[in-house]
């Protein structure tokens, strides 16, 4: 087994961190909506997709990536609030199956709508000029400036969200709503307005992730579903309703996924004949995070940081 040089380990850690933090932006909204409002919102991924499409269109229209992202976040938050008021409010009291059906229908509506407005081809969103270059971290290790920027944004937003939830009155209401909705309502928390606000913020966070990942991934129909599955894995690992759990879960998933893809195939190559290894390596690497989820569920069925005792 060849040794893993420090540069490789550092680079993979940064990759894992970047993936994890972007997943956190999605998972934090998802976990709050599920934890506080008790709504399974499958359309969460569609908001991520909308954020990316808005950013691509608006960045092109305004000529500035930053203006595009900022406007996209506002627009998506607006759509999120509209969605809460018009559709989701009606399914709060229904069972989860009804919610799944309603929000799955929303996925189809959003996907078809996007296809009608923007067409089936992927849109182009390019990395802003000032970040489209490698930054030298170690001798011989240039790392994409844009990815470093994503890590920075992720850490900043995570810190902001923690302050919001643990240091403000609104945050207190949110926590109260998450641990016991009926009691919180009885104590005078304006739960309806809190719900709308939480939904708007979570839609905005989706848009941040969609817009910022757009240049790395691809802005295309169906991009939301793929990442939604990962976001669900994250909140199941972290414990539903817990933002701290979402952060830990997201970082775990990001690092395990990256490390698995980087380390497992070469490891298998050393242990097994090449034909078997070349098939098994990628296969096992791609299910590693699900194995992680299964292990967490086995040991702690409520997730790592359960909100409700």
């Amino acid at each position: 087994m060849p040794g893993f040089p420090a540069a490789l380990v550092l680079e993979q850690l940064l990759n894992g961190l970047q993936l994890g933090l972007m997943l956190f932006l999605l998972a934090s909204g998802l976990t709050l909506v599920l934890g506080i409002m008790d709504v399974v919102n499958l359309a969460h991924g569609s908001l991520y997709m909308l954020g990316a499409y808005f950013a691509a269109t608006l960045a092109h229209g305004t000529g500035s990536f930053w203006a595009g992202v900022a406007l996209a976040v506002l627009a998506t938050a607006g759509i999120g609030i509209l969605l809460e008021v018009s559709v989701l409010r009606r399914v709060y009291t229904r069972d989860h199956l009804t919610q799944v059906l309603a929000t799955f229908a929303l996925i189809l509506v959003f996907n078809e709508g996007v296809r009608m407005i923007w067409g089936p081809q992927a849109l182009l969103l390019t990395v802003p000029q000032e970040l489209a270059r490698p930054v030298r971290l170690l001798p011989g290790l240039g790392y994409s400036a844009y990815r470093l920027f994503l890590i920075g944004v992720g850490i900043g937003l995570a810190a902001g969200l923690f302050l919001l939830i643990h240091r403000t009155r609104l945050g207190m209401w949110v926590r109260a709503g998450a641990s016991n909705r009926a009691m919180a309502q009885a104590m005078g928390v304006p739960i309806r307005r809190v719900f709308t606000l939480v939904f708007g913020v979570s839609a905005g966070l989706c848009a941040v992730a969609g817009a910022l990942l757009g240049p790395i991934l691809a802005v295309q129909v169906g991009m939301g579903e793929e990442i939604l599955i990962l976001a669900f894995v994250v909140i199941v690992i972290g414990g539903i309703g817990s933002v701290k759990g979402a952060l830990v879960g997201a970082l775990l998933v990001g690092i395990v996924d990256t490390a698995g893809r980087a380390l497992l195939p070469p490891l298998f190559m050393h242990l097994l004949p090449p034909e078997v290894a070349s098939n098994l390596g990628p296969a096992v690497a791609s299910i590693l995070i699900y194995l992680l989820m299964a292990a967490v569920l086995f040991l702690r069925p409520q997730g790592l940081f359960p909100v409700r005792a």
Partner: protein
Amino acid sequence: MGNRTPFRLVVALALLVALPAGAQPRTVRIGFVSTLSGGGAALGQDVLDAFKLALRHLGNRLGGLPVEVLVADDQQNPDVARTAVERMLRRDQVDFVTGIIFSNVLLAVGDLVFQNQTFYISPNAGPSEYAGEQCNFYFLNVAWQNDNMHEAMGHYAQLKRYETAFILAPNYPAGRDALTGFKRFYKGRVIGEVYTRLGQLDYSAEIAQIRAAAPKAVYAFYPGAMGVNFIKQYAEAGLMQQIPLLLPGFSADADVIRAVGRSMVGVFNSSHWALELFNPINRRFVEDFRRTYNRIPTLYASQGYDAALALDHGLRAVGGDLSRKAEFRSAVLSGFETTRGRVRFNRNGYPIQNYYLRQVVEMPNGEIVNRLRGTIFRNHGDAYVSRCRLP
């Protein structure tokens, strides 16, 4: 009864329109199943647009018969493709099927088409499965066998004497064919062979592995959006200047260049077709494609155009008689004029043709395009034909 007059007029008009139709020969129905959404959509769209352009050039007739094209999007999903093909064969009774981009999709529907005794004219996917023991009378490929482009690039890497190479492809039939093809002609040391998930868009983990392995050259087969992302990320990681990136034409054609931009200038790639191949068919194709669709055609587009030419040539040879299948097949196999000159075919339905070296360059007018740099293989067939038992 004055208010009945418009109705009568409509009936009369309808009769007028319907009358000549009865006297016309039967139409050829083409089932065009392709990837028209998602990360491979640009490929399917190019093939479809060029196929339609060829039909327009042929006066909307194939071998003298009027044409009807039924289009379905397979969403790069084998199950969706199977449903679409089944519907086209049973309900719409199409005479030919064509259009599929991805080999895993083709392998899922091939048996349906062949069992129905319908020809499948492949404008792209060329899996090794259909080249060897499982070759089929009803399968014709106007493009290439999956290994070919990669064999050409493997040969080029060998000529350049790169001592070590790191090679990557998506984990699906064409991806495995690709790296097999590369290794068939590259005799240096492969120090990394990575298969990624089909459709993967973030290659940071693989790029870190490449950096750590420090090979003399990198070879990556990534079509469509996968290619766009891999190359962008390779450049953003600062590797473009450090380790030469060799690509098959799929990952370095106009669709990818449009998305990646200037950082691709200088990259070498292999192709069976090039913009500036000098023959009248190619000139007309390139000029009219650019004028009609306002973009530079890709090699995929040339293949879509050639698929229509193959149908036209075969149907012309049988005088539009769709029941003379053996004659149709042998007419196509014996060769016809395409966008890359005259191409002949092996008994497994795969072409014998030249493979060229191209380089991405920036033109004086700022346009970034591929330019021909030389010929890697002349009259090159595929490695599997000896195992095909067809006459």
